[in-house]
Amino acid sequence: MSWFIRKEKGINTPTEMKREAPDGLWYQCPNCKKITPTREHKQNAFTCPHCNYHEKVGSDVYFNLLFDDNEFVELDANLTSGDPLHFVDTKAYPDRIKSTMQKTGLNDAVRTGYGKMNELDLVIACMDFNFIGGSMGSVVGEKIARAISYALEHKVPFLMISKSGGARMMEAGFSLMQMAKTSARLAQLSEAKVPYISLLTDPTTGGVTASYAMLGDFNISEPEALIGFAGPRVIRETIGKDLPKGFQSAEFVLEHGFLDFIVDRKDLKDKLTSLLSMIS
């Protein structure tokens, strides 16, 4: 076993593994290369104490971070994907789903639940990038829509944590219409004046950006998260040249007026609590 948990930037180790990593191991930051004890890194909400690099984390980390004592009721946990198009590319879609479920221990690319954050009621939907790139298919759309409906019914603020490459091509037209579905429910939530906070994390692109992620009463992000509609590769191919450094970073998106603020993950819970307290 290697002394360091080696990780390449952008490649995700299942959070399951990180959680079970025994104390005494070290985390090497893929950004500044400096090492931090795993325990300290975890206490720092999986952000680097040296350079503030935010490691990609999954729904279990965010739920643990935000819900008091990690207590929450998960909604629609058993919803899984169908295969309405009998889609086959290099692999049959149901096989892809099955192997991803086994690999990640997740049922799809979003988990939803309600609980208390510093004693305030809150509904959270949080995406998992590990599950086919956090792509949005029917399950993602449906679970988010239902979570919004729950928030609407109980007049509880809704927090969406996005992390997605965009649409799930294997659900083609069905995937596209999840953008419409989630936006419909958000329109209703907005009419009822129930607060909606959208946290865009690294990366949030494609159809997710072009629907619920950009529709918050408050759009917020983590430092240096990639946020965009078209992915950097597509833009590069369109314009035929390299993109300037920092293009489509959270800071860039803030500067152009599409984010309210950027918050460090370790400050997220307190800042959200202040925000919600001030509008309640």
Partner: protein, 317 residues
């Protein structure tokens, strides 16, 4: 000069002969009418045969046929009056989306449509029908105007996608589309959305939240183009036919999967063969749907619109 797609080529030879025969008859003042009608019958039969067995990829090709009617053609052919309204009131006017007040047989409504170009210069001007955020914001501004003056809204969708450029990102392409989705659900007036060519992804959906979403027979509507789907899933551009089949992107597929409300017939051989016929049919369908939707109360219409889209998707409980 007509453009023939590869699968239209068998007809090209017969049509050339037909033209020759007609010219000959006219020049020499002879009656070839029997031979001409025989040949015309043959062409029709051949066309029927070919069009009964179109693949999904062939429909994609038809949706992009260079002679296919665009938004401006329909405006020209359908509207008794049309006053174009420009600009998003923030940045600029986006020529890839046209909007304005239309009067069709005494019925006025807001008409908004994506516009491709017919020649190189026009194509550049219209950005190949790929809107920037300003286009979506102009569309929303006009929809709100329509709502204010209690006029129905008709949108015509024909785009290879929202423009993936640097400035589009800087000005919030994602936000512009997202806002349209949300706002269109709450519009108090009837909204009819018709895919007249290509319906690519969020760029199409951004003006396609309606009480009636309809597709012309030879169009496609999906989350990504077959070419890009091929590039991503097969890691090669060569699987576009398979991608089109796998994604089930035709009007018939979308109707079967309950992702659209209906299909509008095209003339045999495709809309490009008879712009007048196509425009008449489109006009009939628009007026009919406006009439039906006007009979529903505003809140009921909004509720039905929301319920319809919220029912889309397949999950296992």
């Amino acid at each position: 000069m007509r453009t023939y797609l590869d699968f239209e080529k068998p007809m090209a030879e017969l049509e050339r002969k037909l033209e020759e025969m007609k010219t000959l008859a006219k020049e020499n003042n002879v009656d070839f009418s029997d031979a001409i009608s025989l040949l015309e019958g043959n062409i029709t039969n051949l066309r029927k045969e070919i069009f009964e067995n179109l693949t999904r990829w062939q429909r994609v090709q038809l949706s992009r046929h260079p002679d296919r009617p665009y938004t401006l053609d329909y405006i020209e052919l359908i509207c008794d009056e049309f006053i174009e309204l420009h600009g998003d009131r923030q940045v600029r006017d986006d020529p890839a989306i046209i909007g304005g007040l239309a009067n069709v047989g005494g019925q006025s409504f807001m008409l908004i449509g994506q516009q491709k170009g017919r020649n190189t210069k026009q194509r550049q001007h219209r950005n190949f029908g790929m809107p920037n955020p300003e286009g979506y914001r102009k569309a929303l501004r006009l929809m709100k105007l329509a709502e204010k003056f209690n006029k129905p809204i008709v949108t015509l969708i024909d785009t290879p996608g929202a423009f993936p450029g640097m400035e589009a990102e800087e000005r919030g392409q994602g936000e512009a589309i997202a806002r349209n989705l949300k706002e269109m659900f709450m519009l108090k007036v009837p909204v009819i959305c018709i895919v007249i060519g290509e319906g690519a992804s969020g760029g199409a959906l951004g003006i396609a939240i309606g009480d009636r979403v309809l597709m012309l027979e030879n169009t496609w509507y999906s989350v990504i183009s077959p070419e890009n789907c091929s590039a991503i899933l097969w890691r090669s551009w060569d699987f576009k036919e398979q991608a089109a089949e796998a994604m089930k992107i035709t009007a018939k597929d979308m109707k079967k999967n309950k992702l659209i409300d209906g299909i509008i017939s095209e003339p045999l051989g495709g809309a490009h063969l008879d712009h007048n016929w196509m425009a008449e049919e489109l006009k009939r369908v628009i007026l009919e749907n406006i009439k039906e939707l006007a009979a529903i109360g505003d809140q009921d219409r909004i509720d039905q619109r929301i319920d319809k889209f919220c029912a889309m998707g397949v999950v296992v409980e």
